[in-house]
Amino acid sequence: MPDKKTPKLDELEHGPWPSFVTEIKKAAVRNESAKDLLNLLERSYDDKRGHWKHGGIVGVRGYGGGVIGRYTDLPEEYPHVAEFHTMRVNAPSAWFYKTETLRTLCDIWEKHGSGLTNVHGSTGDLIFLGMKTEELQTTYDELSDAGFDLGGSGSCLRSPSCCVGPARCESACYDTLDVCYDLTSSYQDELHRPMWPYKFKFKMSGCANDCVAAIARADCSIIGTWRDSIRIDQDQVKAYAESGLDIQGMVCDKCPTRALKYDHEKKELHVIAEDCSRCMHCINVMPKAVRPGKEKGATILLGGKSTIVQSAFLSWVIVPFMKMEPPYTELKEMVAKIWDWWDENGKTRERLGELIYRMGMTKFLREVGLPPVPQMVFRPRANPYVFWPQDEIVK
């Protein structure tokens, strides 16, 4: 096939930011479907519309998901992307790789697919971008042999993901990498065989900075925290003060609960422990001087998701503090009950957050057996529309 011209896309090879067009072109050098992708994309740039059809159901043996089927609506003109599926490869915790591992993946992908990837997808999978139906099974087989497995897609558990946590961060309050790996391993069936009303996402952040954006994107967000008080190293406070940091202005005045008092004379910082809401701000600004408490664990929040259908929901607090120690039994027992409840009550394509909103938190808490605590809400209800259970009223 003669090379088509891609003047529009070529424009996107200019400029300082690395160019995905250049990347597609690199792959196109030895791969026909990458070449067709380039041309089809140019076509979209001309037409101002996508040229992909709804995906059909394609996959590999034993799996209900992990592959997004994709076909162009212009197969005659772009035959090499007539089938152009992606495979979601479950990435290792916190996206750490050895180069040899990555090379193995590249080799497999060079053989069987377009040679194009997304490193990584928004959920955190490594994405093999574009392959034919016939290549799916062999690609999977080789991936599996190399120690990899598929990520989630469809109405199932999606690949959990986590922040870099204790691997490289002083703020981590629990082992995000281990929880991510442990849950992923424990829930292989839920991950690979769609079984629920809709998708379910876990994300783990080691502290309230939430570096995997769990609270916005995960049905279950596990966010590191501590139960006791922040620890302050006054020598380091002095050092920061002497280095010119405006401790009053940049730290104390921005503490959301005004829990910090700075003594200008002594150059000392003190916390009113019970007022601190563990927001991480002071620790962020003065990492050498302030750090989390010693009694560490996580806050469990539920219900995060994006806009479709009922509006976006941010995850909200369900368990203010839970110890995070292997084998994470408390967490898993709770998750099992929540999934059962969701499965029993959820409508098709109803995320957990929407379901709880529809049925009411009260009902959810009662039926799942979680104790109500004020940390679950910013503030109590403004309406007086309380349900009274039969056993609390006078007969």
Binding site: K8, E11, L12, G15, P16, P18, S19, F20, E23, I24, A27, Y45, D47, G50, W52, Y63, F84, N90, P92, S93, A94, W95, F96, Y97, T99, C106, E110, G115, L116, T117, G124, S144, F148, D149, S159, P166, A167, R168, C169, E170, C180, D189, A208, N209, D210, V212, A213, A216, M250, C279, M280, H281, S306, T307, I308, V309, S311, A312, L314, T348
Partner: protein
């Protein structure tokens, strides 16, 4: 036959030795220069992470390239961040400068650390998805070219998190970003009755519409769309290919701002719509890059140190944001969906 449910590789086997040895023992970090993190452990070990922006959509050539670099400078270890940047993990301080030199020479952008613009989290767009209202990679490239200078700096008022999603499904955290670029449709789906009859589950389709705009049409064994109630979310199209939503003439981009995810200082919050529509103008979407730059610069020029975009706007008030940016305020900015009530200004105190 291959294994089933083997799960992902054990991360412990993929960590560089310095991390295995100091796992959970990091003490503090510094930012010695733009794009570089220095983490120091309790026992005094030091790890440098050099962060490099990637287009995310990369070829295996790219991966092999960075692997080669990681072999030379990082004993064969590297990682990716939650925003699709590459991090070179350098345990030998002496290798930091040489690595940076080589990266610069090869045109890898170094940055995204500290109070900087980081990479734009984004989605498939015209490259691979069936519902996009715009492309993702193309806009991201255009915007990152335009805002390039802020990637390599560390003196912004705060971190700047830009996200892009090509349709209302919002694959990513567009709904909670400092600046969000969002592909939007603007016309109701065109029903292909043939296709509906060929296997769409009509009750599920009807239930999928958030505004109840889809009615079953039993006579035709199809559905009708009440166009007045449709706000083009495309959820019906996700459910059924018969609900054709792409419309080259009317698809385009909306801009939302002021969201955040971290709990630091202020609670996580949603991004809010500030520009309801900009046209699709490939390959460089000049209207979009200009709008984003304008918002970012207004923030740069007006925010106080330490203020994320949303924190700045909440301090000055949204009415002031609109007057400062001179972005016209229209009825489209006013919520009319389920949780609209909480957005209504239920106070007589406001600015002009």
């Amino acid at each position: 036959m291959s294994k089933i449910d083997g799960g992902p590789p054990d991360y412990k086997k993929l960590l560089p030795p310095i991390i295995t040895e100091n796992y959970g023992q990091w003490k503090y970090h510094e930012i010695p220069r733009a794009g570089v993190l220095k983490h120091v452990s309790e026992k005094g070990d030091t790890l440098y992470s050099v962060r490099v922006g990637s287009p995310r959509l990369v070829s295996i050539d790219y991966i092999r390239d960075i692997c080669a670099l990681a072999d030379s400078y990082c004993d064969g270890y590297l990682r990716f961040t939650s925003r699709n940047n590459v991090e070179f993990l350098v345990s030998d301080e002496g290798k930091v400068e040489p690595l940076i030199k080589e990266l610069e020479a090869k045109g890898y952008p170094i940055g995204g650390v500290g109070n900087a613009l980081s990479n734009i989290v984004h989605t498939q767009g015209w490259v691979h998805c069936h519902t996009p209202a715009t492309d993702a990679s193309g806009i991201v490239k255009a915007v990152m070219d335009d805002l390039y200078e802020y990637f390599g700096r560390t003196d912004l008022p705060a971190k700047l998190k830009v996200a892009m999603a090509c349709c209302l499904n919002m694959c990513g955290a567009v709904h909670c970003s400092d600046v969000a670029i969002l592909g939007v449709h603007r016309t109701p789906p065109r029903v292909d009755h043939e296709k509906i009859r060929k296997g769409t589950e009509i009750p599920t389709l009807v239930a999928a519409c958030p505004t109840g705009a889809i009615r079953p049409d039993p006579k035709n064994k199809s559905v009708v769309v009440n166009e007045e109630r449709c706000m083009y979310c495309g959820n019906c199209y996700t459910m059924s290919p018969a609900m054709e939503i792409l419309d080259a003439k009317n698809d385009g981009i909306a801009i939302l701002v002021g969201g955040k995810v971290s709990n630091a200082r202020t609670a996580p919050s949603f991004s809010r719509l500030v520009i309801p529509f900009l046209p699709n103008n490939p390959p460089r979407w000049p209207e979009v890059t200009a709008a984003v730059r304008h918002i970012v610069e207004t923030w740069l020029n007006n925010a106080r140190k330490g203020e994320r975009v949303g924190e700045w706007i909440e301090r000055i008030g949204w009415e002031r944001f609109f007057s400062l940016t001179e972005i016209p305020f229209t009825d489209k900015h006013i919520d009319d969906f389920i949780f609209s009530r909480e957005t209504f200004r239920t106070t007589a105190a406001f600015k002009y």
